[in-house]
């Protein structure tokens, strides 16, 4: 049988995902509004003292980003699983890891990238010093793809379960620990004028590692969920 060229299939899947996301654009806003609400809660909870907020800003923004990502992960494979699209994709002869990667890339573009774009607003709210802003954006730009890539494994593992959402957060949050530590420390270091390239470098290597490994784990989890 003549299998479709891998690149063509990859592009077709990405285009379909964007079209679907566009048709459901109201749903895309939910995690972002969630992100804004969570960050708003912190000044209300700990008090509006500018120095305190500036101190906790990197952590708060990063944790909010983490929560918002996990919120959108449950639907990553669910509709494709439930309407039979996923089984057809598995049988199409295309590499399942590549399919998983395409879905993850689409997920990052519609769920992760907006977080990066919103971060200046969040930084302003949390009174993050200007020295940290650029590094915050950089760390989110490097880190949110990792959130999507690792989260996709959890999404694929729980896709066949009726109520997978809570389990999903239990599975992926511990895996996010190193990323959270590196990212917040990079931003905090930048604020006090300490070197931060080491942290960013480690985050980039984490991105490369998860880009090469996570799609395979996701693929294995998808195959398992279909059995």
């Amino acid at each position: 049988m003549s299998k479709q060229a891998t690149g063509t299939a990859f592009v077709a899947l990405l285009r379909r995902d964007f079209l679907l996301a566009y048709r459901r654009r109201a749903e895309l806003l939910q995690p972002l509004v969630f992100l804004l609400v969570v960050v708003t809660l912190f000044p209300l909870g700990v008090g509006p003292s500018p120095t305190l907020l500036a101190n906790i800003a990197p952590g708060v923004i990063w944790i909010a980003a983490l929560l918002a990502t996990v919120l959108s992960l449950d639907s990553l494979f669910r509709s494709d699983f439930e309407d039979g699209t996923l089984e057809q994709m598995v049988l199409s002869g295309q590499s399942l890891a590549l399919i998983a990667l395409a879905r993850t890339v689409a997920h990052w573009l519609v769920a992760g990238l907006p977080i990066v774009l919103l971060s200046p607003l969040l930084a302003m709210w949390m009174n993050l010093p200007d020295e940290g802003l650029l590094i915050l954006i950089e760390s989110l730009a490097i880190g949110t793809p990792v959130l999507s890539l690792i989260g996709a494994i959890g999404g694929a593992l729980t896709v066949s379960l009726k109520r997978g959402g809570q389990l999903l957060s239990l599975l992926v949050f511990p895996l996010y620990v190193p990323l959270l530590i590196l990212a917040t420390s990079a931003v905090s270091s930048a604020v006090v004028d300490l070197p931060y390239t080491g942290q960013l470098g480690l985050m980039v290597s984490g991105l490369i590692a998860s880009l090469t490994l996570a799609p395979f784990a996701t693929a294995a989890a998808l195959k398992l969920s279909l059995s």
């Binding site: 299939a9 079209l19 509709s79 309407d83 039979g84 699209t85 049988l91 002869g93």
Partner: protein, 214 residues
């Protein structure tokens, strides 16, 4: 290809699948050659769908062997239609993703396929607006643009009206006369008419167990 035991399009020996540490169905063996239609019958829950999913490669056998020449086309219970995409967008996506027989003339082929499955009037409607029968027709569109020679159809007649059934029968006839083969399941009420077919009756693991105990 010259070896006699290799000449079948599909050969299944002692195939079985376990769930909850029990056989879903008793082992089955059969061979399928080009041009033939195998009908799999049996009561509800006897493992017909499981058998097709095994043959498609979605499940791995617990016992036995499946020898197949190539990846078959599988049309299961789920139509693989996106609610937010129109019929045409759905079909076009699968054409792009899976590839078609004549990829150079995709536009013409897509229209032609939609006409053949009788969905031209609803081609621009979203998937969510389709009836169960229309969904079934839409999911059968793949039969017209993919070039797999072995088809695995799970209850293909369900939800189809008489015209739909006639349409499917004619698609199937063309496929079989051009050297294809097909395995389909049915729980009995609807059967393909006017075909020269083999039949395989399945017994569920539980039935067998109950029979032994009595």
């Amino acid at each position: 290809m010259d070896l006699p035991n290799n000449s079948h399009m599909l050969a299944v020996t002692g195939l079985s699948f376990e769930r909850y540490f029990e056989r879903v169905f008793e082992p089955v063996s059969f061979e399928l050659d080009a041009g033939s239609l195998l009908l799999i019958t049996g009561s509800n829950g006897c493992g017909k769908t499981t058998l097709l999913r095994l043959l498609a490669g979605l499940l791995d056998p617990s016992e036995g062997k499946i020898q197949k020449e190539e990846q078959p086309l599988y049309a299961g219970h789920f139509p693989a239609i996106k609610d937010d995409l129109s019929v045409e967008e759905n079909i076009r996506f699968w054409m792009k993703f899976m590839g078609t027989r004549k990829s150079d003339q995709m536009d013409g082929l897509c229209e032609q396929v939609i006409e053949e499955i009788g969905l031209t009037p609803v081609a621009q409607q979203e998937g969510r607006t389709l009836s169960a029968g229309q969904r079934k027709r839409c999911s059968l569109a793949r039969l017209l643009f993919c070039d797999e020679s072995l088809w695995l159809l799970d209850e293909p007649y369900s939800n189809l009206d008489p015209q739909g059934i006639a349409m499917l029968d004619s698609i199937l006839k063309t496929h079989l006369t051009s050297g294809g083969a097909c395995i389909m399941t049915t729980h009995g009420s609807l059967r393909p008419e006017g075909f020269d077919l083999q039949e395989c009756h399945m017994i569920s693991g539980r039935e067998r167990y109950a029979g032994e105990a009595a």
